[in-house]
């Protein structure tokens, strides 16, 4: 009997293959978006972790300093003086090659003799003796064979590279090994530590010292820590990697939330389609129940079908997710690279856990979506299944109850948002709950609006005018869900557009204010380099002597230790004009006097937020003389990163830390100066690795970076929107195709296909209108919550809300146009269907 039962039910599905396809597509796309984000994020962060692990081998700790680097003598002191074995000194940095194609390599200088203990992934067998050639022959490197071949190089060939100290020639003496880590070595060069020190101009300095703890680790750690100067730390490697990873937590969470939004839309799509498939077969189910099929059998049939769709959709979704992940990976890696830390070129890695996650998501979402329609089919007695009017009146009672439930969800969601402090996950959960609530409310809102419109049109003599309104209202079981889905999509679009627009406007204004100088000179370079400070000062003096220059400001971007973490610090030389470049959110009195002459700092908003700091708090920073307290005298806006940083005057900085030169110099031109000439004259004074840009150019670059970071959001938004529009289309088309017989009647009594097309368009247009109207306030609420809750909690940024009427209008029109477009296919179909055939349609 089961076989016949399934056949009876599935025959309907075979007759409506496109509905089947849409249902599967909804699951596929929803799962694909979530999987692709997860995959790309995990792959990008995993690559970072793997690279760190591959290069550090068995090293479990790392000795690091702030940006000034480690003194080489410390290494000797630890090895010889303290007897600490298994230490590996490392110098690393980036070199640029233009051989054949432009490439940037990470160049790592190590001690080849010591690396045996560390068993780093790059390690060669000593039999070849090539490790020693790294020491004996200067400027020799190991490189990946694949990379070399792409550069048309062989062992023994040389190629030019550029660093801060100029151009150098490197010689390939061997390949990096073909092992599991070979993919990480695509942009890696290994050389001797002396070569690296010369290339970067950091003679006598080290970037880090890696430590392998073999015997009695606790004692060794103690010995090392006691020997370290105050501004040098011993950190567990996994802790460092983990803290870096945590930096991206908010970013990851927000991306994941976007993915979940896609899944939510997918869920509505599945619910839409499955409930249609159930409603459309209600006569079949009613007939089956009438002849003795139990409600459990019907329910099981529906759930089994849904599971089958879920499995097909999930498998396709995972496959599509991998493909999408490939496209997202460069975007996500690029953003992490730009905003957080360098992520070397990542490769997509699909793990069994991710496949499991995808399967669970796809199946769980489908089952959740199918619960209500399955329950309806289970609950209703056969005669009510057979009577369409009973179904609709039952649905009308249901949507009234759903409206109350919706209010509860919205209230709960709002409570979650307002009462969960700084918790990002709770904030996002609250927003999702509210969104879900608004979706639940939509059918009732639609019903009420149509009733009001019907009353308004009651005075019209025309029956045709009332017909579309009646159609929407009479079949609220279908139209309500389609309108809800469309509303969610458009609300999400409006909300995200308003949010991104507000963010863009805030950042734009901030960038313009924080660039008070006319020109900016960028002094990139390795701060550990011995010549850098003197060279930077010399350059500053030359710039000050230029006729057109009225005054200068400078900044040094470095890192200092606060407790066991490195914190970014901007060290400023401020003049009167550059004071205007700060947007203070909170400030004490007489801040500039305190800034220049007292132990004080400004902190950025994100920094204050993430560390729970307020005006007047003290920050303890490690110096060579021990920890020093710096009072927070102002909190200012900064959108250049979400971790935030401190700002300190150069006077204060030089009291405790070495002069590392400058990262940038701001040039304030005299009134009436020719900026083009001035820029040219400044350029003449600069080295090849230094650059000068106008504040306009920097503004444009900054906004480009902003757009780049939001490209992921935009891409995902379009994907999510596609899913949802697909669902809405299918729902609206299904509604119309279901009325084939009704349309046949209208054609039989004399309605032309043109008139019928108008009727269909007006009906779907009405649904679009309701969705659009409701989406506007919901979109506003979403934008507001994203700006003032999610972004604040995630990144510590306070943004201004900028209302853009164009966005709202666009969203509203999107709803209307999508709905009207959904009428095109049914209208075309009816135009080509003979009325007689339409009348025969069941």
């Amino acid at each position: 009997m089961r076989r016949l039962l399934k056949k009876a039910s599935r025959h309907f599905l075979y007759l409506h293959p496109w509905q089947l396809v849409i249902a599967i597509l909804g699951i596929t796309l929803g799962v694909a978006v979530v999987i692709s984000i997860d995959l790309a994020l995990e792959s990008a962060l995993h690559a970072f972790k793997q690279t760190t692990q591959a290069l550090s081998g068995k090293a479990s700790y790392r000795i690091i300093a702030s940006d000034g680097g480690l003194d080489e003598k410390l290494y000797t002191h630890l090895r010889v003086g303290q007897g600490v074995q298994n230490l590996s000194p490392v110098v690393n940095g980036y070199v640029h090659s233009t051989a054949i194609t432009a490439k940037t390599f990470k160049l790592v200088g190590i001690d080849p003799l010591i690396e045996n203990t560390f068993q780093s992934a790059w390690r060669q067998d000593n039999k070849t003796g090539n490790n020693l050639r790294l020491i004996t022959e200067p400027n020799t490197v190991l490189i990946s064979q694949q990379t070399a071949q792409s550069m048309q190089l062989q062992i023994g060939d040389s190629f030019p590279v550029t660093t801060d100290t100029g151009q150098h020639i490197l010689k390939i003496i061997n390949w990096l090994p073909e092992n599991n880590a070979r993919e990480l070595f695509t942009h890696l060069l290994i050389t001797d530590i002396s070569t690296a020190q010369e290339l970067f101009g950091v003679i006598g300095k080290l970037s880090t010292i890696d430590v392998v703890l073999a015997h009695d680790p606790a004692a060794t750690i103690q010995r090392i820590r006691q020997a370290l100067p105050a501004n040098v730390l011993l950190m567990p490697l996994n802790e460092q990697a983990e803290s870096l990873r945590q930096m991206t937590q908010a970013f990851s969470l927000n991306l994941t939330a976007l993915g979940m939004l896609s899944l939510l839309m997918g869920m509505f799509l599945i619910y839409n389609t499955v409930s249609f498939l159930v409603i459309q077969r209600r006569l079949l189910f009613g007939s089956l129940r009438s002849i003795g099929v139990t409600r459990q059998q019907i329910c099981r049939l529906i759930i089994e079908e849904a599971l089958l769709l879920a499995m097909i959709g999930t498998v396709l979704g995972i496959l599509l997710g991998v493909i999408l992940g490939h496209s997202l990976l460069p975007l996500i890696s690029g953003t992490i690279n730009a905003l957080y830390f360098p992520v070397d070129h990542s490769v997509l890695k699909l793990s069994p856990l991710q496949i499991g996650k995808g399967c669970l998501l796809g199946i769980a979402t489908t089952l959740l979506a199918v619960l209500v329609p399955a329950w309806e089919a289970y609950r209703l007695p056969p005669h009510r299944l057979l009577l369409r009017s009973e179904l609709e009146s039952g649905v009308r009672r249901f949507i009234q109850s759903a409206a109350w439930l919706a209010v509860l969800f919205i209230f709960l969601g709002l409570s979650l948002v307002l009462l969960t402090g700084n918790n990002i996950s709770m904030g996002l959960a609250g927003i999702f709950l509210m969104l879900f609530g608004f979706a639940l409310l939509t059918p009732q809102v639609s019903f009420v609006l149509m009733t009001m419109l019907e009353r308004l049109l009651a005075r019209s003599p025309s029956v045709l005018v009332r017909l579309p309104v009646r159609m929407v209202k009479a079949e609220i079981s279908r139209t309500g869900c389609a309108i809800a889905t469309l509303m969610i999509v458009v609300a999400a679009t409006i909300g995200m557009d308003l949010m991104i627009g507000s963010f863009r406007q805030t950042v734009s204004e901030w960038v313009q204010i924080s660039l008070p100088a006319d020109l900016y000179v960028s002094l990139s370079g390795n701060m550990q380099a011995s010549h850098k400070s003197a060279a930077d000062h010399s350059l500053k003096q030359q710039l000050a002597k230029l006729n057109e220059v009225e005054m200068l400001s400078s900044v040094l971007r470095t890192q200092l230790f606060r407790g066991h973490t490195r914190n970014k610090v901007s060290v400023f030389e401020i003049n009167e004009k550059s004071r205007q470049g700060f947007i203070f959110k909170q400030q004490s009195h007489e801040i500039w006097t305190a800034f220049n002459h007292q132990n004080s700092v400004f902190v950025t908003e994100p920094y204050a937020y993430h560390h729970g700091l307020e005006l007047g708090d003290n920050i303890l920073l490690r110096t060579a003389q021990g920890e020093q307290a710096f009072a927070i005298i102002a909190i200012y806006a900064d959108y250049s990163g979400d971790q935030g940083h401190l700002a300190m005057s150069r006077n204060n900085y030089l009291r405790y830390w070495p002069d590392l030169g400058f990262s940038g110099i701001g040039i304030y031109a005299k009134e009436g100066s020719n900026m083009i000439q001035l820029e040219a004259r400044v350029k003449q004074l600069l080295q090849p690795y230094q650059a000068v840009k106008s504040e306009k150019a920097i503004y444009q670059l900054s906004m480009q970076l902003f757009e780049q970071t939001f490209r992921i959001t935009e891409t995902l938004r379009w994907l999510a929107g596609m899913i949802a529009f697909l669902g809405v289309f299918s729902a609206l088309m299904a509604i119309q195709f279901e009325r084939t017989r009704q349309f046949g009647i209208l054609r039989a009594i004399g309605m032309t296909s043109g008139q019928l097309s108008w009727l269909i368009s007006i009906e779907t247009g009405l649904m679009g209108l309701i969705a659009g109207l409701f989406a506007v306030p919901v979109g506003f609420i979403m934008a507001y919550l994203f700006i003032f809750v999610v972004y604040l909690r995630s990144f510590g940024w306070t943004l201004a809300f900028y209302f853009n009427a164009g966005v709202v209008f666009q969203g509203f029109m999107l709803a209307l146009v999508a709905a009207v477009l959904a009428a095109v296919l049914p209208a075309l179909k009816m135009a080509h269907t003979r009325p007689a055939d339409a009348l025969r349609n069941e």
Binding site: L387, R388, S389, P461, S462, V463, L464, R466, L467, R470, M471, K473, A474, R741, Q742, I745, L746, R747, A748, I749, G750, M751, T752, S753, G754, Q755, R834, P835, A836, L839
Partner: protein, 231 residues
Amino acid sequence: MIKKSAIEISQLCKYYLESGRQHVIFKDLSLSVMAGEFIVLLGRSGSGKSTLLNLISGLDPPSKGHIEVNDIHLCELTEQQRTIFRRHHIGFVFQAYNLIPTLTVAENVLLALELIHAISDYDRDQVVNLLTQLDLADCLDAYPDRLSGGEQQRVAIARALIHNPDIILADEPTGNLDIDTGKQVLALLENLVRKAGKTLIMATHSEEVTGKADRVFVIKNKALTWVTDKR
């Protein structure tokens, strides 16, 4: 007085393709119906009665042959033109009533008029009068799913007659009704049509109806055979 021919059918063929095979419904069918005649088409289910009515009304185009209704050559009309023709000249009563479920009884009947011209108070009065004649005065604002089968069919009859068409086509109008209700509906239909002097072609497999018809034909073996002629 020489009665004018309302419907002229000659050499009419209708077939359809299914699973690559051609199924012939009827072949070389010819028929001439005078204005005001009551014609009954008999035949088993699937014999092509409904198809013939669909062809006459322009709901379906023929595969071959000619159909002329009130001097209008249906085969020369486009689909749009056939629809407009049907709007003005044909009143169709279906077996399954085919009322619009989202319109009230009165609105279902008014719709047929609104497709021809803008509705006036006179039209409304006409609708009310007709529905009263059909004993539906209490159901004007009711929706079809609240009516019995007989009531729904009476609404369908009203819709078919309200715009004063020349030809009424009824496709097994009592097929879904019990015997007594069916008799009532048939009597009503015949009475209204005869009174107005309309041409009525009714497809049925009920032999009881044949006694009231002017001529009776049977569709059998893909052809139309004349059975009785009271003229």
